[in-house]
Amino acid sequence: MNSPRAAWLFLAPALLVLGLFFLLPVIAALVLSLTDYDLYALADIRNLRFVALSNYWELLHRRLFWSALGNTFYFVAVGVPLSLTASLGAALLLNSPLARMKPFFRTALFAPVVTTVVAVAVIWRYLFNTKYGLINYALDSVGIHPVDWLGDPHWAMPTIILFAVWKNFGYNMIIFLAGLQAIPGDLYEAARIDGASVPRQFWHITLPMLKPTLTMVGMLTVAGYFQLFAEPYVMTEGGPLQSTVSVLYLMYEEGFKWWNLGSASAVAFLLFVIMFAVTATLLRFSRRGGEA
């Protein structure tokens, strides 16, 4: 047996599984997005109409789609940097030689990641309650007027971002921690001998050495944050005034609430295209940065 054939033979099981459970559904969804598959089509397939690109066309003319896209970009643009900063900050603190009780803090900071969104959302909803919430109580005691966190269209998204960052930063923190521990100690030692201050050590040693980790974590976080769904689903149900409807939430409503699977598939593909473009751009930027 020649070697290419052997290679294909070994690849076959994986390709088969991928083709059957990934490629085929994706193609089917693409076909679906070109039809008006809905409740009536489910009842009788003769009610199915091929509509070409009109699902996409209608979506692009729907204000809700654009506002959902805007909300999603808002969430990504604010949430990702905030999340990365929080993760890196926590990792640096944990990695500091001055830190005590490291295992305890590591567990405590990682805990939100392994809790269930639904259970935690109940607590957060109480914390952010306008009248009885702890947050407003604390603000009130320093003389700030109560904020309608989840009810005001301007505050709902920031609250969701805060919730998501708190819920997810522990995961990236662990990856950063591993990255930090991989940086050789003699680099810092040399820098100290040369008289470099702590901020300069961070800027010239820690950040460059962490760059591959940062790129990877950043990319994964962006991809993850684009798929915002669970947080608005459990905290606000997309409200108030649809200010927390994300693209994926829109897809859920179209597909599972109203059973318009055709237009829901179109939403999914548009989101896929957008995410692909954004991550590809980010990747190109980070490569160019690497060459410079």
């Binding site: 089917a28 409740l39 489910l42 306008t130 149900e237 609430k257 598939s265």
Partner: protein, 418 residues
């Protein structure tokens, strides 16, 4: 990932569990499951061969689960079904027509049921369900607060109501006249159903929200917020409306029958005489409200339709319905069930009995829930001052017409083929 989620729904299990000939699968939605579990042993004693397998679906997941079950061919024998969902499952041809069984039945007597509630089970003249319990919206009010403001009786029409709301709002006291959560469509819908014009026109092909009647209802609704007689909040923020009602933050609360039980449970004994219920005031005199509630339906694919029908009959008996009310507070859909038991003597239930003779069904089409959801989204924008009443009415019509496009296409095609 998103794409995969969608496909999962389509590929939803095609496996059909093998049904034991003595096992009857019964799905319930929400709180009813726990109460009905206490009624089932009596049924099983009467029908020794039948074992009822009860499955409780949470309300938020029920709709999706039912549609997925139909798509995957794994429906139960019978289920509890909100009567606004009947048109959808009927469109999917998933339900067993029941007219013949009803005509043969000694227990289920159509004439005994509230006519509008019964009508919600008729889709294009075919009967698909038997009403199980009813749900309509009316006013809960604080007797003591109204009395302090100089009103001895609850309002009968909108003019009186507006007058009382004004007297009980922030200008006069700490608190609001009424709680109308901006993300719930039921309140505005009840006001809209009081109008003479239908909500959809031309055999439910187009929206009719531009009618003078709907605009009148929307104006009344929006003005309640503009005059600060209701706070501009959603039910998520309203959090615990029962305690707030008890504290007098709201003098009126527009809600359904289950809240009789909630208020009895949550408010202290000393306060129980301070609140009551009243039929919903209409534009001129007592008005209509929505004909909500749940029905019992049997699935076409069920192999045990006879046993399923026996369970439907059992749950339709007045004595069983009275016990059901005692357990849960769900109100029976037939007049004879109201003639005995705790329900008959309950002063707080009386307003519901009165209201039930004056309820109106919503348009019986699968698209209705989506249309009414869009109606509320636009209405919330009008409340927030982003749209005028006229603009909002036009916008709701535009969205409704868009949603109904497929229905029009199908009706036209059926018209041509005939």
């Amino acid at each position: 990932m998103a794409v995969l989620m969608l496909m999962a729904a389509l590929l939803a299990s095609c496996s059909r569990q093998a049904n034991d000939s003595h096992e009857l699968t019964f799905w319930t939605v929400g709180r009813e499951g726990e109460a009905v579990a206490k009624l089932i042993p009596d049924f099983e004693r009467e029908h020794p061969g039948v074992h009822v397998k009860l499955q409780q679906l949470p309300l938020t997941a029920a709709h999706q689960k039912l549609l997925t079950a139909v798509a995957g061919g794994s429906t139960p024998d019978l289920t509890q079904l909100g009567n606004t969902w009947i048109p959808e499952l009927a469109a999917l041809d998933a339900l067993e027509p029941l007219q013949v069984r009803v005509e043969r039945s000694h227990t289920v007597q159509q004439a005994d049921y509230f006519p509008s509630i019964w009508a919600t089970n008729l889709i294009d003249g075919t009967l698909y369900g038997v009403p199980w319990y009813v749900d309509t919206r009316l006013l809960f009010y604080r007797k003591d607060l109204l009395r302090q403001a100089g009103f001895d009786t609850p309002p009968r029409d909108w003019t009186q109501w507006r007058h009382m709301l004004a007297a009980l709002s922030p200008a006069q006291r700490r608190g609001y006249g009424i709680l109308l959560p901006t993300n719930e469509f039921e309140q505005l819908l009840a006001l809209a159903l009081q109008q003479d014009e239908p909500l959809l026109r031309d055999n439910n092909r187009y929206g009719n929200f531009r009618s003078a009647g709907f605009k009148r209802a929307l104006t009344f609704y929006v003005e309640t917020f503009k005059l600060h007689q209701a706070p501009m909040i959603s039910n998520v923020e309203a959090g615990n409306p029962w305690t707030e009602f008890g504290r007098g933050v709201y003098a009126f609360y527009l809600s359904g029958p289950w809240n009789i039980g909630e208020f009895r449970q949550r408010l202290p004994a000393a306060q129980q005489d301070d609140w009551s219920t009243a039929p919903l005031p209409g534009p001129e005199g007592p008005g209509a409200s929505n004909a909500g509630g749940s029905s019992l339906v049997i699935f076409r694919r069920s192999p045990h339709k006879e046993a399923a029908w026996q369970l439907v009959e059992f749950l339709s008996r007045p004595a069983v319905q009275q016990r059901f009310y005692d357990l849960l507070g769900d109100m029976p859909p037939r007049r004879s069930s109201w003639e005995g038991g705790a329900l008959h003597d309950d002063p707080k239930a009386r307003a519901f009995r009165d209201q039930l003779e004056r309820v109106k069904p919503t348009p019986p089409i699968p698209e209705w829930e989506r249309i009414v959801t869009e109606m509320q989204l636009v209405a919330a924008q009008a409340v927030a001052g982003q749209l005028t009443v006229d603009q909002a009415a036009v916008e709701i019509d535009r969205r409704a017409d868009g949603i109904l496009e497929k229905r029009r296409w199908m009706l036209d095609r059926q018209g041509r083929s005939r």
